[in-house]
């Protein structure tokens, strides 16, 4: 290089930094004034255990999920509520191996119908040696759907989130642990 750039900065380094510090922007505008705190549309069907925040912040310190009930429905609801409260997502769901949604909040009808085909596609992926399909994520238009799986003697369960940004590796670990805690008692 004959003439040095002004910034002495490597463009590739900037690109990779930008990828680490920017959030995907929500395409749907929300009102800054007056409509603050209005939750997004809820999930079809079942009412949520706790109201979803419009856009939960990635928390500083995520507390472990503690399950206090033996009732499966309560345990799943508690898992969904914990996920909404502590992970960067606008919706969360729990589904079984067959893609049947067992608990959900803040996800659309379309997302619910997607869970079944998605999980059956993953069955094929799981048979490939060396592939860990117990966690994954998929961009769907402007939103990202992420999921983790846990296997029990009663079959597999999947905990999924829908949000505007990708979950961190740490968030995946936390979701796996929370799902594990929940289904262990089922």
């Amino acid at each position: 290089m004959t003439v040095r750039s002004v910034s002495w900065t490597d463009a590739q380094r900037v690109s990779s930094l930008l990828a680490r510090v920017t959030a995907t922007r929500s395409p749907e505008p929300a009102a800054l004034v007056s409509a603050m705190g209005a939750a997004r549309a809820g999930a079809p069907g079942k009412a949520a255990p706790t109201p979803a925040k419009a856009a939960p912040k990635a928390p500083k310190e995520v507390p472990r999920l503690v399950q206090t009930s033996d009732n499966p429905a309560d345990r799943l609801d508690a898992l969904v509520a914990w996920t909404l409260a502590h992970q960067a997502c606008v919706g969360a769901f729990v589904a079984d191996d067959n893609g049947l949604t067992l608990a959900a909040h803040g996800i659309s009808e379309a997302h619910v119908s997607l869970v079944g085909p998605l999980l059956s596609a993953l069955v094929g992926v799981r048979t490939i040696p060396g592939v860990d399909a117990t966690a994954g994520a998929l961009w769907l238009g402007a939103q990202m759907m992420s999921w983790v799986e846990a296997r029990t003697t009663r079959g597999g369960f999947c905990l999924g989130t829908v949000g505007d940004e990708a979950l961190s590796t740490r968030a995946f670990e936390q979701l796996k642990e929370a799902l594990g805690t929940t289904v262990r008692g089922l």
């Binding site: 680490r20 961190s168 740490r170």
Partner: protein
């Protein structure tokens, strides 16, 4: 939900305070209930505004362990409030940020702002430690302020580096964008700097850059935001209306809600 933005830069004197103050004014004029918080021990917001300079604020709240928003200043605009830094006890300078962290000062400021404000803007000191670091940890969005000159550009990646690391350890802050300041198309180095800012940071750079303009010094001298320098605001103050519109778009928020067509003048 109340949104929070920190204006930050490793390098000093790049225009953080100027941008934060004039954006706060422009946001409030658009109807967003805005709180501008000075996290700089220098007390730059107080120094910039006639009538605010000697008021107690954040520093006194920290020293006395009082409510975080005590000393909040209402302004001529009903939607704009200020929380100045106020005088810092000379011997506290050294441990200020450490004490503020222990007291969760900025976290509590945000908590207490949830009900009454749509937007909390933080003016931060130069540097990436101390109060700047605290603010970055608490906010949801960060606007990097980059003066259109070589040293500011060279320092910029380090702010991104910090943001990336903070996100890795669980902070919610993301980069909302980079704003170029003190730009001039007449000076070849400044022009090259702005061009390089665009080419490196691409769509992260706000389309609106703040031009270098003598009016800013006049506003500092008078101790007012640009928009109040005279009854008919100087032309350059319109820059902040444009910048704020871009910021809103990136936040995914629009003041006053979605556009739903014409509004009748007479009911």
């Amino acid at each position: 939900m109340t949104r929070s933005i920190a204006f930050a830069s490793l390098k000093g004197g790049v225009g953080k305070t100027t941008v934060a103050l004039n954006c706060a004014f422009a946001f409030a004029r658009r109807g967003a209930r805005t709180l501008l918080v000075d996290t700089d021990q220098q007390g730059a917001i107080g120094m910039s505004l006639d009538g605010v300079g000697d008021r107690a604020g954040l520093a006194a709240n920290l020293a006395r362990g009082g409510p975080p928003l005590e000393g909040m200043v209402k302004t001529r605009l009903a939607e704009l409030c200020l929380l100045p830094m106020g005088p810092v006890e000379a011997l506290d300078e050294d441990r200020f940020a450490v004490n503020a962290r222990e007291a969760n000062l900025l976290g509590r400021v945000l908590e207490q702002s949830q009900r009454d404000f749509d937007l909390v803007l933080f003016d931060t000191p130069a540097g990436l430690g101390g109060m700047s670091r605290l603010a970055l940890e608490e906010v949801d969005s960060v606007i990097a302020v980059a003066q259109c000159e070589p040293l500011a550009l060279r320092a910029l990646p380090r702010l991104l580096e910090l943001l990336a690391r903070l996100r890795e350890i669980g902070s919610a802050c993301s980069l909302l964008g980079v704003v170029g300041t003190m730009s001039s198309f007449r000076d070849p180095v400044m022009l090259a700097s702005l061009e390089e800012l665009w080419s490196l940071y691409r769509d992260q750079v706000f389309d609106t850059a703040v031009p270098r303009d003598g009016t800013f010094l006049q506003a500092s001298r008078a101790g007012v935001p640009l928009g109040l320098l005279s009854r008919r605001p100087p032309a350059v103050s319109a820059v902040f209306d444009k910048l704020v519109a871009e910021i809103e778009e990136r936040l995914g928020t629009t003041a006053g809600g979605e556009d739903d067509g014409p509004i009748r003048l007479v009911d």
